[in-house]
Amino acid sequence: MRVLAAMSGGVDSAVAAARAVEAGHDVTGVHLALARNPQTYRTGARGCCTLEDSRDARRAADVIGIPFYVWDMADRFHEDVVDDFVAEYAAGRTPNPCLRCNEKIKFAAVLDRAVALGFDAVVTGHHARLGPDGLLRRSVDLAKDQSYVLAVLTREQLGRSIFPLGDSTKAEVRAEAARRDLAVADKPDSHDICFIADGDTRGFLAQRLGETPGDVVDALTGAVVGSHTGAYQYTVGQRRGLHLDRPAPDGRPRYVLSITPKTNTVMVGPAEALEVSQVRATRPVWTGCERPTGPVDCEVQLRAHGDVVPATVSLDADGLRAELRRPVRGVAAGQAIVAYRPDPAGDVVLGSATITG
């Protein structure tokens, strides 16, 4: 096949591209320029959008022996990922930009362009398994598994995707990179949000949304227990950084229970008030099974690297409803609920949807 390898400049995508070549594909490497004003050098372990990353990707492509180009996706990325990220926070939700980037950029804008240019598929260094059966499964390396952020992809998108790393652990990938003389073999993993270079999400949002002072309210007593400079700065389940004026009457820690942009109010309460047993979600996508007509027993994951809970999922006119077998804390609107079918050969992604409450 003629395939396009998305190369971030990191070790995973470099090894994925090399494996695609070895598998007999005709591979072309592409680095996505996503930042409008890229920094010259990486700072710490953040991001993948610096010129240094672009050069690392190019060097890896040269070593592998494939053509390499830079595609400017900065405008699309800003519209579909960054602006969406800000708007979601402003609406009191907690978005996952990696998931959004996969849905709108890597496996949409990039994939569409690749297909139009005559490529058959896109290769990425995601840690997830995608076999000939078309089913998306967790990576063998559960600590690095990225099936959660890929679960939003449709069957059509998965049908044009290749994830060569799903059967390997990160340690194996690094060792293989060293064996292949790829200089990125010991490059640190990237963390956090690539477009927030200093990792200060609050500051990033404050810059774009401005300061909007409001109240922090105790859900049990209804009393105003503190103030904030913008409800968007909080996420459900958050405990740190609340800066409450007075301790709760019961002396126990308080957590963010909900965010109401309309009244610019942040509700706080005790840990057990965070517990939910039912999750509602919208825009369901089914890739691991036919669209269910009745309740489905499965496992669900409610945030990246979050716990997995047994649940019964069903569809109704409003979207998806999941009854959790045991309560879960810190379920935030805007995150994805991903349904898995346990399987010894790697848990299978059945589908996903966006949590509304």
Partner: protein
Amino acid sequence: MAYLDHAATTPMLDEALEAYVATAREVGNASSLHAAGRRARRRVEESRERVAAVLGARPSEVIFTGGGTESDNLAVKGIFWARRAAHAERTRVVSSAVEHHAVLDAVDWLAGHEGAEVGWLPVDAAGRLDPERLRAELAAHGERVALVTAMWANNEVGTVQPVAELAAVAAEHGVPFHTDAIQAVGQVPVDFAASGVAALTVTGHKLGGPTGVGALLLARDVAATPLLHGGGQERDVRSGTLDTAGIVAFAVAVETAVKGQQEYAARVAALRDELVERVRQAVPEMIFNGDPADRLPGNAHFSFPGCEGDALLLLLDAQGIACSTGSACSAGVAQPSHVLLAMGADDDRARSSLRFTLGHTSTRADVDALIAALPAAVERARRAAALRTPR
């Protein structure tokens, strides 16, 4: 592979490569006083004389440099500094909107760091400068102009400028005129003295010499403040141990290219005309950019409406065809060409452009390969570009 990017760099001529290897085997620093040094110096000075002879300059006017970018920087900054030092009011630089970045960015740097003001000369739709615009510019600001710099021939669209006319206008006002002739030497007749320019940039690797060696021809009565300080090897204007082998090979290449220019231009222009005609037949909606008559013999530059040049480049590259979008990279991302924009093209047309440049190794088979691959590439690139519509 069909190599259609000779304006980026062209294969070394056999005679230049042989001269390089033979000279590189010899030890000797041209500044040394012993026999080995004298031998190296003799090679350098013979090379200087050869370059001077074929380019209409005196040997003392040839300053060897590390290539085109250095020569352009030395001319633009060096002449600016020297002129301003002599006449404090001369802080204006006149340049054209279609210069190579080696000139453009040097001028910008002077504006940003040395307080220079800049008069940018516009071009017409074919990329041509109008000497009358320069005359008007100098009539208005002549007393304050440090130098004029305008290229001999454009590296992207291939338009050849009326350099002698422009230089004559500058001379009327006693302003030194520098020209970047990197794309011109060996392609069109270039005579330093006859052209009336004060400084001229030439580089090796565009005419069959090695990369990393070039020259600035600098008239004897024009002062330039050095960029590089050190041993003062080149007329005290340029320091650095002379690259004897590189200079020898450069001189051989310049001599060969200039002496063979007429025959070369006739052959390559005929092949280029055939390429243009066959591209027109294969993709009738293409736009042929640049001056149709006054252009470099090897240059063919097109816009393919509805396509992105970088998508076309990728597709043609996959078919073994090497060409260029001609646009510079800014922060790793291709920007629309400032040359096309200066010629009045809009962003989309500028981004839809592709440059094919023929050279001394080009054959009809290269053109055949391009024509075989181009229609399908254009079709695909069009489909990809259609996706850009925001959703």
